[in-house]
Amino acid sequence: MDIFFQQVINGLVIGSVYALVALGYTMVYGILGIINFAHGEVVMIGAMVALSIILFLFQFDIPIFLSIALVFIGAIIFCSLLAFCIEKIAYKPLRNAPRLAPLITAIGVSILLQNIAMLIWGRQYYSFPQIFNNDTYQIFGIANITTIQIIIILISLVTMFLLFYFINKTQYGMAMRATSEDKNAAKLMGIEINNVISITFIVGASLAAVAGILIAANYGIAHYSMGFMLGLKAFTAAVLGGIGNIVGAVIGGLLLGLIESLGAGYIEKLTFGFMGSNYQDVIAFLVLVLVLVIKPNGLVGEKSSTKV
């Protein structure tokens, strides 16, 4: 039984990571309707930049909290600038191009970022220093969880609520919603849609940076290729929840995480030993397909009735 609880915890941790990244995907998609394939790489850049900053700061004896703050701030700023440029260079010119064009540029950007990162930081896997103390706590004495894992879960939930508030209550949020509904109408209402889009990308990138640092810290490892698969899973999560929907992204992320860990844990029993943990991802994708076949707009995605 305690195994089950542990698996749930594991699932929640992975899920929260997916959720954090998925939020970035879902915001951009909500506004522009494009899959920002490069988002996963922004996460990676966030982690690598953070790593460099840490290694730099370690030369001086700065109080740990200060240096942690510096690390986060530095990574966030860098990623925001990066995302800002990506949007301006690779996506903005293609607002009215055929639907596949921005997808391909996104793939291009992703490949580009990954290989530039490879040039800057090399191919080796870096062990990511422990910026948070690595105590493990017992939950009701049946499941273990580390400080960083708790932080991950909390941050992803908090950011979700903040974003939700930001989008539904604030001026900018309203502008965002308007823009995602109908760009031209939004323009006519005097909304600077270019600013709105830039802000979307910057917020998404900041989340990516945070996610990157937390992931690297959790697994104690950072390298140039850590972004792609993660981005993919996160995007799957976003779609699962209903892409373009903030709450959906988090629900999708947590669900995907739980499916993966419980799947890996119990599939062998379920399939009478035919399938093992090697089919972890198969389960994840099958669930995705099922959900979409039953609810083509994702779990909490609102039905877009075809205007005829």
Partner: protein
């Protein structure tokens, strides 16, 4: 229509110019400046990509051997020979390996040292076999490589079968484990090693409590580790690479699961210790061959290598060096650089290399390929013992 024509033209020019670019790259002349006959020795391995450093290491081994051979001014039936290395990059990818193998065939090399990993060695070996070119891999350990019935495919390193069974014996006899969980990373290497380990353990009366899997894109192993925790085993065997083994150990600790951890040469690296941090304490690992300082010619080779390339040996350098020397030795014994002539001599060669005595069995595997066991003690790999071929 107009743009169509333009594009046609563009495309044509593009192809033409590209071909030009390439064709100016390759040269294979008959004789060198001093009029010595040039004999090409191919080296193939990942010179770019995530394991480029290992590929370079092998390349250096080959270069060093060739250098020395040329200094010895070897002459084969009447002609003084100048050996020349043709080194190609297979990126460690199956999709590329046959292309670069073809490149070596085109520059009609007399023999090939490579490739580095089994995934690239096996597809390429077919091409060398078709052309009758002898191939010695310094580091490919998958059993299938020498099971293809290719008469000219050799390796100078113990294969996964030898390593897997050695590991199993170590697990049962030395760690005296009887409930064992096996994890492999679903690569050719991981699967090969894990399968043999599992079979041997069963043969020795041990119990495999569960067989778990991960893959090279993953960095979270909590799910499978938690499952293993529930089976309370007394040993976990992991067949995979260090970049995942390290984090895996950390997560093992976080889950409060402290059992013996045994792994193969993929993890017997410094990076593994670095990534696993203090969790790596007490981990057992195997590695084919013997540590440098226990090789017959290890120390002297090491210094030679370091002063030539002013960098330290990674892993397989000495084996590449021995493979090359073995090849050349066969040529000298046959007094010919032509494969059909020296192959018979290569088959039953007796060569004293820096890594040990080299001779091949009927399949092309090295006889008495030795496996050494190590354990992490305060952040260093400490040599435990060497197990012979069994």
């Amino acid at each position: 229509m107009k743009s169509k024509c333009r594009n046609n033209l563009l495309f044509f020019l593009f192809v033409a110019s590209s071909f030009f670019l390439v064709s100016c790259g390759s040269d294979n002349s008959e004789f060198d400046s001093e009029g010595r006959k040039i004999v090409y020795i191919g080296h193939a391995g990942p010179l770019t990509g995530p394991i480029a450093h290992l590929g370079k290491d092998n390349e250096n081994g080959v270069k060093l051997a060739i250098q020395e051979a040329n200094d010895r001014n070897i002459s084969l039936d009447g002609q003084t020979i100048s050996f020349k290395v043709v080194s190609v990059d297979d990126e460690g990818k199956e999709s590329k390996t046959t292309l670069v193998a073809q490149k070596l065939v085109d520059t009609n090399v007399s023999g090939v040292i490579g490739h580095l990993n089994s995934g690239t060695t096996i597809p390429a070996s077919k091409i060398y076999h078709d052309e009758g070119i002898p191939q010695i891999s310094p580091s490919a350990t998958n059993v299938n490589y020498t099971n293809q019935g290719f008469p000219a495919a050799f390796r100078v390193m113990a294969n996964d079968k030898q390593q897997g069974s050695a590991l199993a014996n170590f697990a049962i006899n030395d760690i005296s484990a009887n409930k064992i969980a096996v994890i492999d990373d679903r690569t050719a290497y991981g699967k090969g090693l894990a399968d043999i380990f599992e079979d041997t353990v069963k043969g020795l009366g041990g119990i495999i409590s569960s067989r778990e899997f991960t893959d090279v894109t993953k960095s979270d192993f909590t799910a499978i580790l938690t499952k293993i925790k529930g089976l309370n085993v007394d040993l976990i065997f992991y067949a995979g690479m260090d970049v995942q083994g390290g984090p895996m150990l950390k997560q093992l600790d976080n889950l409060g699961l402290n059992v013996n951890f045994l792994t193969g040469d993929g993890c017997q690296t410094l990076q593994f210790i670095e990534l696993a941090g203090k969790s790596s304490q007490g981990v057992y690992a195997s590695s084919p061959g013997v540590p440098l300082d226990r090789m017959p010619g290890g120390i002297s080779f090491n210094s030679k290598y370091e002063q030539t390339f002013n960098q330290s040996i990674q892993i397989y350098g000495p084996y590449a060096y021995d493979a090359t020397n073995t090849l050349i030795d066969a040529m000298v014994k046959a007094n010919s650089y032509l494969p059909e002539n020296y192959l018979p001599f290569l088959k039953n060669i007796q060569f004293k290399g820096v890594t040990g005595d080299i001779s091949f069995d009927e399949k092309g595997d090295i006889n008495r390929g030795s496996i050494s066991m190590y354990q992490v003690k305060n952040n260093k790999w400490e040599y435990l013992k060497t197990l012979g071929d069994n």
